[in-house]
C-alpha cells in the first residue's frame, strides 16, 4: 500500500551496500561463513523490510524435557 519513491529506494540501496560491506567483513572461506549482497530486498530500509516481512509473533515454549527412561514390563 506504500507509494514507491525512486529517490528513497536509491538511498536505501546505498545504505544496503554499506551494510553488506560490514556484514561481509566477518566472511571467512575456511569456515564457510555467510555472505551478503544485493538482492530483491536491497531497495528497502531495514525498518521497512522488518515491517513487511518479519511479522511472526514470538511465543515462549516450555523447555524440552530430558529423555525419560521407562522400564518395559513383560518383555523378554
Amino acid at each position: 500500500t506504500w507509494q514507491r519513491n525512486p529517490e528513497r529506494e536509491a538511498a536505501a540501496f546505498r545504505e544496503s551496500l554499506s551494510r553488506q560491506r560490514y556484514l561481509n567483513s566477518f566472511f571467512s572461506v575456511e569456515n564457510s561463513s555467510a555472505f551478503y549482497g544485493i538482492n530483491q530486498f536491497s531497495y528497502l530500509y531495514p525498518e521497512e523490510f522488518k515491517a513487511i516481512y518479519l511479522r511472526s509473533r514470538s511465543s515462549r515454549f516450555p523447555r524440552h524435557p530430558a529423555e525419560v527412561q521407562m522400564s518395559l514390563l513383560n518383555v523378554s
Binding site: S16, R19, Q20, L23, F26, F27, E30, N31, S32, S33, A34, F35, Y36, G37, N39, Q40, F41, S42, L44, P46, F49, K50, I52, Y53, L54, R55, S56, R57, S58, S59, R60, F61, P62, R63, H64, E67
Partner: protein
C-alpha cells in the same frame, strides 16, 4: 543420527514459495510442515492453502502477522482441513474466510508438540528425523541481505520475528548447519533456503520449535 539428512531428498518438501508483501510467514511455515508431514505418511505431495490459514486462523492477523503457535492451536482445536492451494489460492492479502464442505478433500493435524530446544539441538535433530520438517521462529533481520554460506553471526536469540521450516541438517563439514526453507522465493539465499550453524542456537533457531503429527 545420520551426519547428513534432508527431507528434500525423500521428495516430501514442496517447492519454495514467495509470500510477496504479505507478512504471512507464520502461515507459510505451518502449512509447509503440514504438507511434508502428510507426504511422509504416504499421501501425494501437494501444495496446501496458505491463504486459507491467513484468512481463517483466528488469533492471528493474516498478512499483518501471526504466531505459529496460534496457527497450530487453531488447527488442533478446530480439526480444520487445509484444502489444496489450487482450491484456495494465495492472494498476498488477508481476506474473508471461505468455508468448504467436510466432504472436500483436505488435510488436518492429529496434534503437535512445541518446545524450546536451546542447548538441545541434537534432540531437535532427532525430532526432525523421526517426525518430519520442523516449524521454527528466528531472528531474520540480517537475512535481508543473505546470499549463501552458513549464518554464524549478525543475529540474536530471544528476538524472534520470522517463521521458517527446517527440512534437514548437514554435519559433514567443519561447521554443522541446519537447512532452513524460507518463503521469500527461490531467488533468495540458496535456492530459497538458508544454512544456519547448528549447536549454538544461532538466530534463536532452537528457541521455539514445533513438530506436527498427522
Amino acid at each position: 543420527l545420520p551426519l547428513k539428512f534432508d527431507w528434500r531428498d525423500k521428495h516430501v518438501v514442496t517447492p519454495v514459495r514467495n509470500q510477496q508483501a504479505c507478512g504471512g510467514c507464520w502461515a507459510f511455515s505451518v502449512v509447509g510442515a503440514v504438507e511434508s508431514a502428510w507426504a511422509i505418511k504416504g499421501q501425494p505431495l501437494e501444495d496446501l492453502s496458505v491463504q486459507q490459514m491467513i484468512d481463517c486462523s483466528f488469533n492471528n492477523d493474516g498478512c499483518s502477522g501471526g504466531s505459529t503457535l496460534n496457527a497450530l492451536l487453531w488447527m488442533n482445536q478446530t480439526r480444520v482441513k487445509l484444502v489444496y492451494d489450487s482450491d484456495y489460492p494465495f492472494k498476498a492479502r488477508s481476506g474473508l474466510c471461505r468455508y468448504f464442505s467436510t466432504s472436500r478433500p483436505g488435510f488436518s493435524i492429529r496434534n503437535f508438540a512445541a518446545f524450546d530446544y536451546s542447548d538441545k539441538e541434537d534432540e531437535m535433530a532427532k525430532m526432525l528425523v523421526t517426525f518430519g520438517p520442523l516449524v521454527a521462529i528466528v531472528d531474520a533481520v540480517s537475512w535481508q541481505d543473505y546470499m549463501g554460506g552458513i549464518i554464524q553471526h549478525h543475529c540474536s536469540r530471544g528476538e524472534a520475528n520470522h517463521a521458517v521450516v527446517i527440512t534437514g541438517f548437514d554435519k559433514t563439514g567443519s561447521i554443522p548447519y541446519w537447512i532452513v526453507r524460507n518463503s521469500w522465493g527461490r531467488s533468495w539465499g540458496v535456492d530459497g533456503y538458508a544454512h544456519v550453524k547448528m549447536g549454538s542456537n544461532i538466530c534463536g533457531i532452537a528457541d521455539t520449535v514445533s513438530t506436527i503429527f498427522v
